[in-house]
């Protein structure tokens, strides 16, 4: 509003004055100053969660800042991530990947729901979790029952399954790894590997 008033006042002066209005400068006239407060600190009252950068093996500590205070009616959404200054390795620093972690979480190409591509199909088809799990399990069982090697050529018990393989992630947690290991090994799978090899 302040500047509006100024404008009107300025306009009045202008109409009153002749072309020599440029001499207004002599009045030392100066518009009211809009307050130049710096941008508000965007993390104020956000919720902090400690995490570990999922990229390389330095294992930098990060702090994730999310909107909302975990109240029931508020959906948390992470708006910013920066280095954890207490972490003994990274001491608050991050690399260009870690500094941009927020864009990994919010990547346009993040998958949202299970999809299925039928033989010869040109497109993905969205399916339910139940359908996906059911189909995959049936595929696995059919192959395992058909190709499971209980004994080798010498008649020795080997109980291995080599016609379906599993490539495990290297950024999943130990707990995921353990759950995966239990399922994969109990099936007798040996075509089993992770990123350590490459």
């Amino acid at each position: 509003m302040g500047s509006m008033q100024i404008t009107r006042r300025g306009a009045l002066k202008l109409t009153a004055a002749s072309v020599g209005a440029s001499t207004l400068t002599a009045l030392g006239f100066s518009p009211a100053q809009a307050q130049a407060a710096v941008r508000a600190f965007k993390l104020e009252r956000t919720t902090e969660t400690r995490n570990t950068c999922p990229y390389c093996s330095v294992g930098c500590g990060v702090i994730m800042y999310s909107i909302g205070d975990r109240a029931k009616n508020v959906k948390s959404s992470i708006i910013h991530i920066e280095g954890d200054p207490d972490h003994p390795t990274n001491r608050g620093t991050l690399c260009p990947k870690g500094a941009a972690l927020i864009d990994f979480i919010n990547a346009k190409t993040r998958l949202q729901y299970p999809e299925y591509r039928a033989p010869g199909a040109k497109e993905w088809k969205r399916i339910s979790w139940d359908e996906a799990i059911d189909k995959i399990a049936r595929h696995m069982k059919a192959d395992r029952d058909k190709n499971f090697i209980a004994k080798n050529a010498d008649g020795q018990t080997v109980n291995r399954w080599i016609s379906t393989g599993f490539l495990a992630a290297s950024a999943t947690s130990n707990e995921t790894a353990w759950a995966t290991y239990k399922v994969v090994r109990s099936l007798g799978m040996v075509v089993f590997d992770n990123q350590a090899r490459v």
């Binding site: 072309v19 001499t23 400068t25 809009a34 710096v38 104020e44 280095g83 990274n90 500094a99």
Partner: protein
């Protein structure tokens, strides 16, 4: 004393009334130690992330610099130079961005009141609400830093994370830097730290290592430790002795009030002439003479 500002002002663009000056603040500075910079661009990423900016995905034009210049989104940019210095190959990597001059050319050139401010701590900040997008700051800057947005026609550049500094945090780039090539603190502390770094570099054989804090702009609040401070230009064209252009001084200095005075004077001269000599009015004789001339001609 009363002020809503979270940081006190030292200067305000295009403003004839001085800001309150009684309170004193500690000057801050960011020190960029080029000898420890690995060019990882973490600072660039953190800057985009913190300031909620996203750069266009461009193309590679045959160098590591991406984007290829500062933009309205990229307020800091790693510039890479491959060069043989004194017979030794060096890959010089410099983080480019606003130097936060003590005597800021952008602020001097800015015609919009309060669009550019300098806080007492030395940070030069663009207050976008007040920016009219004229681009005078670009012309005023001795380091070619500000960029005008294609989207909103406002000028943008590094704020030294004034929002973070105001609450006692370091700028995003300084905090993120993995190798402490960027440090942040009071200017005094940064100069002391630079001295230590320079001593280390000299021990390692870089005889002309030194601090870049150019006096031509009154010193800066972003300083560099360079291995070759005698040749700053080899670091992707860092100016050797930056100064506000004399042309900018010419148009923004004393000539400005003088020019206005000239205009006023012209008007005054007219007014006084009128008062002393009065109007030059057509007399009856003139009309008669004119009529006579016409009649003569008609005959």
């Amino acid at each position: 004393m009363s002020s809503l500002q979270s940081l006190d002002l030292r200067r305000r663009s295009a403003t004839t009334t001085p800001p309150p000056g009684q309170r004193e603040a500690v000057e801050v500075a960011k020190l960029i130690d080029v000898s420890r910079c690995i060019g990882c661009k973490a600072c660039q990423a953190a800057c985009l992330e913190w300031n909620d900016l996203r750069e266009e995905v461009g193309i590679n034009v045959g160098v590591y610099d991406n984007p290829h210049d500062l933009t309205e989104n990229t307020w800091t940019l790693m510039r890479f130079t491959e060069i043989d210095v004194d017979g030794r190959f060096e890959w010089l990597i410099r983080k480019d961005g606003c130097m936060h001059c003590d005597d800021p050319g952008c602020l001097k050139a800015c015609p919009a009141p309060g669009a550019i401010v300098q806080y007492k701590n030395g940070i030069v900040d663009f207050i976008s609400e007040n920016c009219i997008g004229c681009g005078y700051c670009v012309k005023g800057c001795p380091f070619n830093i500000p960029r005008i947005s294609k989207k909103d026609s406002k000028a943008y550049k590094c704020t030294l994370c004034s929002d973070r500094v105001a609450v006692g945090q370091a700028p995003a780039c300084a905090k993120v830097c993995p190798t402490q090539a960027i440090s942040f603190g009071t200017k005094k502390d940064m100069i002391a730290w630079a001295d230590k770094r320079i001593a280390d570099l000299k021990e390692r054989g870089y005889k002309s290592a030194g601090l870049y804090d150019p006096p031509g702009v009154g010193g800066t609040h972003v300083m560099y430790v360079l291995k070759h401070v005698d040749r700053p230009e080899i670091y992707a064209g860092l100016p050797k002795d930056p100064k506000i252009s004399p042309l900018v001084d010419l148009w923004k200095g004393i000539t400005k009030p003088l020019a206005l005075a000239g205009v006023g004077l012209a008007a005054l001269v007219g007014f006084f002439h009128y008062v002393t000599h009065g109007p030059n009015e057509v007399q009856e004789e003139d009309e008669e003479a004119a009529a006579k001339t016409r009649r003569n001609s008609a005959e």
